[in-house]
């Protein structure tokens, strides 16, 4: 037993010596697996690209990181799959799971950072601060927060209080309307618009119900701007009679930015829409 321990210790020492012979910066970099799109955005904004070793399916990555492995969906993580990447930190939203897998990963000595999903800018800022505190992102955090503040001011300046708005999930054959507590609702409140849906979560509705709400603004989640809007009007021609369609106020946001709450990319989408509305 003792001989084995010695052998292992010797091996570990060897590993450390050899390990530290590689560039010095390497020792500082902690290996981070991100399990949600918003977290990945924040890590990239904090300049922690080099730390990122794997992401989930909802993360969008810049070119130079496109080859990172995917750990799948953040509520169906694989314990051994993640451990095989030899991570130091597992960062993502509180919804990561299943619980047993997260417990196993924690038990294996991996640090967990579980952020509450942000539905407003205060929570987003708090999440950025927490990530920065735990991962030594100090160098960039002030700049990120400064930019966030600037965007907040710009949003408030461009906000359109009283705009009757709805948020629709498109791309399926059904119309799904975003109610309270959804990312779509959070996006509308960032814009300063007034979500006309008076229920919680997403619900399938008829075109007639949307027409009855008389929205001045329709925001869709989809992939490409004009295609999604055109398809919606083709699919539900009745919507052409809404004030929003008549004034050309049917806009598409990238659905991948709204997977769980509001992230930095969703904020940029909100700014883009207020700018489009202001142009009119």
């Amino acid at each position: 037993m003792r001989a084995r321990l010695k052998k292992n210790l010797a091996r570990l020492t060897l590993f450390l010596v050899v390990g530290s012979a590689t560039p010095a910066a390497q020792a500082e970099v902690r290996r981070v697996v991100s399990t949600d799109g918003a977290t990945t955005e924040m890590l990239l904004a904090l300049g922690l690209d080099a730390s990122l070793i794997a992401v989930d399916v909802t993360s969008t990555l810049p070119e130079h990181l496109a080859s990172l492995p995917s750990v799948g969906y953040h509520r169906a993580l694989s314990a051994e799959g993640i451990m095989s990447l030899n991570p130091d930190v597992l960062a993502g939203s509180m919804h990561m799971g299943p619980t047993s897998v997260v417990d196993q990963i924690r038990a294996a000595g991996v640090q967990l950072i579980r952020l509450p999903p942000s539905f407003d800018l205060d929570q987003l800022e708090a999440n950025i601060q927490q990530l920065s505190d735990e991962l030594n992102g100090d160098a960039a955090v002030q700049a990120v927060k400064y930019e966030l503040q600037a965007q907040r001011v710009q949003l408030e300046r461009q906000a359109l209080p009283g705009t009757r708005a709805v948020f629709l999930m498109a791309g399926e054959s059904r119309l799904r309307l975003a109610g309270d507590g959804t990312s779509g609702d959070a996006l509308l409140s960032l814009i300063g618009a007034d979500n006309q849906a008076d229920f919680e979560n997403y619900r399938t509705v008829t075109a007639e119900a949307i027409l009855a709400l008389q929205p001045d603004l329709i925001v869709l989640s989809g992939e490409s701007d004009q295609v999604t809007a055109d398809r919606l009007l083709k699919q539900a021609p009745m919507l052409a009679h809404t004030p929003a369609a008549q004034n050309g106020h049917v806009f598409t946001v990238d659905g991948r930015t709204l997977v769980s709450g509001i992230g930095l990319a969703a904020l940029r989408e909100a700014l883009r829409i207020t700018a489009l509305l202001e142009d009119d």
Partner: protein, 341 residues
């Protein structure tokens, strides 16, 4: 292509042993096959043979071995219950879900996922699934009881009707569910061997021992049932009692399996047919061989689920259907060309 039972048994058992070794020695983390195989022995006998780090030992003992055991238990349970349901109902399309236990369990799980507090989900989902599955079976069974005994036709139809009703209830609940709950729900319905608790595995073992012993004792009665219900009655079998006992035990066993893993389809339907094609319809052989074959099938499916897209993994229910359906069709075509069907 009837084969002698001992050859099939030998092949299946060595397959299961190999499958077990494969399941313990492969995974997204690259560990030497020999070393990882030593770890369970070290653990049981207190040896120090494997030269692996502590975290690597943990991967074997806390991730791979529990999954291997749960795959074997669940596969064997589902396949045995499939044999019993097909034998009891004399219906080749019967699977363990036919008596409503899976659809009921799904409703229980939906209610637990959407309505129970988030902190409880870890245990409220399996408990809800088990209780609702059992309750549904009891409803189906009591609907089928007539003055002239339990009607198999009503039982089957009531099972179908309740499954449709359960589907609607799930649809209604998911209409009101939040996005997060919706994803949990659809993942649960694809099955996974990831989350297994110690107590879940012990319950699975208890259920397997119970069904293995009790089903085997009724194997001859099931053979007699193949002749038809009244023929079985004339052979001195208490058919009503047999039905009640087998349905209840199946409901409990499938309930435990579903609570542990979510819905895993196809094992209970396909495995009995495969074994029947290989060795014939004698339940004395069909029951134990199907258990081994079911265990082997789920073990291989789970190993594939873990290694196909590392570091992520595919829900195992998808793999069993992807492999099970074409394999089953292949067997059918082969049987057809031999003129047996």
């Amino acid at each position: 292509m009837r084969l002698s039972a001992s050859i099939v048994a030998l092949v299946l058992l060595s397959g299961l042993a190999l499958g077990g070794v494969l399941s313990i020695t492969t995974g997204p983390m690259a560990l030497s096959m020999y070393q990882s195989l030593l770890v369970p022995f070290d653990h049981v006998f207190g040896w120090e043979l494997a030269q692996l780090q502590d975290y690597q030992r943990a991967v074997i003992m806390e991730m791979r071995v529990p999954r291997t055991l749960l795959s074997i238990l669940t596969g064997a349970l589902l396949a045995q219950c499939g044999v019993v349901m097909q034998g009891l109902f004399r219906n080749p399309l019967a699977d363990p879900g036919i008596i409503g236990v899976s659809s009921g369990a799904a409703v229980g799980a939906v209610f637990a996922i959407t309505l129970a507090p988030v902190a409880w989900v870890e245990w409220s989902t399996p408990v809800g699934a088990f209780l609702a599955g059992l309750a549904t079976t009891l409803v189906v069974y009591s609907l089928a009881r007539t003055r002239n005994g339990t009607s198999v036709t009503i039982l089957l139809l009531a099972g179908v009707a309740l499954a449709a009703f359960a589907g609607a209830a799930i649809g209604l609940m998911s209409y009101f569910a939040s996005d997060q709950d919706l994803r949990s729900l659809s993942l649960w319905q694809m099955g996974s061997l990831t989350s297994s608790s110690d107590i879940g595995r012990w319950l699975g073992l208890a259920a397997l021992v119970m069904t293995a012993v009790q089903f085997q004792r009724r194997a001859l009665a099931l053979n007699a049932m193949l002749l038809g219900e009244s023929e079985a009655r004339h052979l001195g079998i208490n058919v009503e009692r047999l039905k009640l006992e087998l349905i209840l035990m199946t409901a409990v066993a499938v309930g435990v399996a579903v609570a542990n893993t979510g819905v895993i389809g196809f094992v209970g339907l396909v495995v009995p047919h495969i074994v029947r094609m290989l060795t014939g319809p004698d339940h004395r052989l069909l029951l134990p061989l199907s258990a081994v074959c079911g265990a082997l099938m789920l073990l291989l499916a789970d190993t594939l689920a873990r290694v196909l897209v590392p570091p992520a993994e595919i829900p195992v229910g998808i793999i069993t259907a992807l492999i099970g359906a074409p394999f089953f069709l292949g067997l059918l075509i082969k049987q057809r060309s031999l003129g047996r069907l």
